[in-house]
């Protein structure tokens, strides 16, 4: 076969191969050098988001490692839900649900729902969404204080039947021109509260600390 292929082609192939190896090595090296720091950055980012709902003074455990996973189908239909448990001096303080509202206007909305041990909401924050700028994106705290309206609410207050947006006969505001986004978030918060009420013991049950917290990476 060798006589059929021009020598130049071989040389070009080798040259390309060498550059390929060099490039890949450079990337691998950079990855190795930055791996630890990137992991730390994700952990710090998640902690910062949780601390917005639950200030540091309220708990003293390693929140990011005291975690259970609620398998898909039990709380959130398609996605596992991570629950961070906050405790102080051994007592249960709050549970932070990292859950997903599947029915946003432009896809799923990832949120943090913090539930105090007494069943009241410590806070809700949107982590990631694709909602329409200027309309649905007002579920973000940066764009509007709407999401603060969940603070302190619980399954009795308002009663379950009124845990919806006003358009659906509930107590929570929707936005002019955008009902689907607030509806999705309100439903997800309600579902988290329901799960908390029905499985409270499971939610706080101690498990062996995980080796390292599993945190979602930036989406591409």
């Amino acid at each position: 076969m060798k006589g059929v292929i021009d020598k130049n082609v071989w040389v070009s192939a080798v040259v390309l191969g060498v550059f390929g190896v060099v490039g890949a090595t450079g990337v691998a090296l950079t990855h190795w050098l930055t791996e630890a720091r990137i992991e730390q950055a994700y952990v710090a980012e998640r902690l910062k988001q949780i601390n917005e709902i639950l200030p540091k003074g309220r708990y003293d455990n390693d929140l990011l490692r005291d975690v259970i996973i609620v398998p898909a189908g039990k709380l959130c239909e398609k996605v596992d839900v991570t629950v961070y448990r906050a405790r102080r001096q051994g007592k249960d303080v709050a549970a932070i649900f990292e859950t997903t509202a599947p029915n946003g206007y432009s896809g799923p909305i990832r949120l943090l729902v913090g539930v105090n041990s007494d069943g009241s909401i410590a806070g809700v924050r949107v982590l990631e969404h694709n909602e329409t700028p200027g309309l649905g994106d007002r579920i973000e705290l940066r764009k509007s204080p709407w999401v603060l309206g969940f603070n302190g609410k619980s399954l009795g207050e308002p009663p379950l039947a009124r845990w919806a947006v006003k358009r659906d006969g509930g107590d929570f505001d929707q936005f002019t021109g955008a009902t689907i986004s607030p509806r999705a978030v309100t439903q997800a918060v309600r579902n988290a509260l329901l799960y908390f009420a029905q499985h409270r013991d499971e939610v706080f049950a101690p498990v062996a600390d995980k080796a390292s917290p599993a945190i979602e990476k930036h989406k591409y």
Binding site: N8, V11, S12, A13, V15, L16, F19, G20, V22, G23, A24, G26, V27, T30, H31, T34, R37, I38, A41, Y42, A44, E45, P133, G134, H218, K219, Y220
Partner: protein, 230 residues
């Protein structure tokens, strides 16, 4: 095209990648919604251009012409991947905001255009400066367009400066219009297109004024600026 000053002027104005060559428009339009976002991606592109041009120039005598384009792409992709990892590690929040547009720098035509048209045919210092000049021209455009869109769209300037410059920059945000209702179109892609079009028009107006002044000052002598882009 040999003096350093020529290279600088070329990248910044005469052959500006966004205003004249019209390359790299996808990231330009998508990320120029605020001044800081524009600066962030512009800076990443500038570093890519300098590194890519330098490396291509260093290896220019070892690349076989038949495989030069794949080799350029390899170099650029490796450089951008490394930059992406470094941004994730050291500017984590900005990395989350710029998202997919960092890896997309690989597809930014300016980078491969400069590798092919300049870096592969010039010495390392010239190539590096060209990368810097093109990157600076691109970043300046991103910052100007980003500032305009932020001002018209949100009424502020330099919001979220802390993403790049750290906690000291937390107060850099200037609220130019208070209680601004917001002009959504400016923040969305159509606003980017309009903004870029206006900036290109302004540049062309400036150029034609400069040309008129040059020919008025020395009639009959071919003005340097009218020699066109080169």
């Amino acid at each position: 095209m040999n003096s350093y000053l020529e290279i600088l002027k070329n990248g910044l104005w005469k052959n500006n990648s966004g205003l004249v060559q019209l390359l790299g428009l996808c990231p330009l339009l998508a990320v120029s919604s605020t001044a800081i976002n524009g600066f962030g991606l512009g800076f990443a592109t500038l570093v890519t251009l300098v590194l890519s041009n330098t490396i291509v120039s260093l290896i220019r005598n070892f690349i076989r012409p038949e495989v030069r384009i794949p080799v350029f792409v390899l170099v650029i992709a490796s450089v951008v991947t490394a930059i992406d990892l470094l941004l994730n590690a050291y500017f984590h929040e900005l990395h989350g905001i710029l998202g997919i547009f960092i890896p997309l720098i690989v597809t930014n035509c300016v980078v491969i255009a400069r590798a092919e048209a300049f870096a592969s045919k010039n010495t390392v210092p010239h190539a590096a400066l060209d990368g810097f000049a093109m990157g600076l021209g691109f970043t300046s455009l991103l910052v100007v367009l980003g500032s305009a869109r932020e001002l018209v769209g949100q009424g502020t300037l330099f919001s979220q400066a802390n993403l790049i410059f750290g906690d000291i920059a937390a107060n850099w945000r200037i609220t130019v219009f208070h209680d601004y209702p917001g002009f959504l179109i400016a923040v969305l892609p159509p606003g980017a297109f309009f903004g870029l079009g206006i900036l290109i028009a302004i540049k062309n107006i400036i150029d034609s004024h400069l040309e008129k002044r040059a020919t008025a000052a020395a009639p009959g002598v071919v003005a340097e600026s009218s020699a066109g882009t080169s």
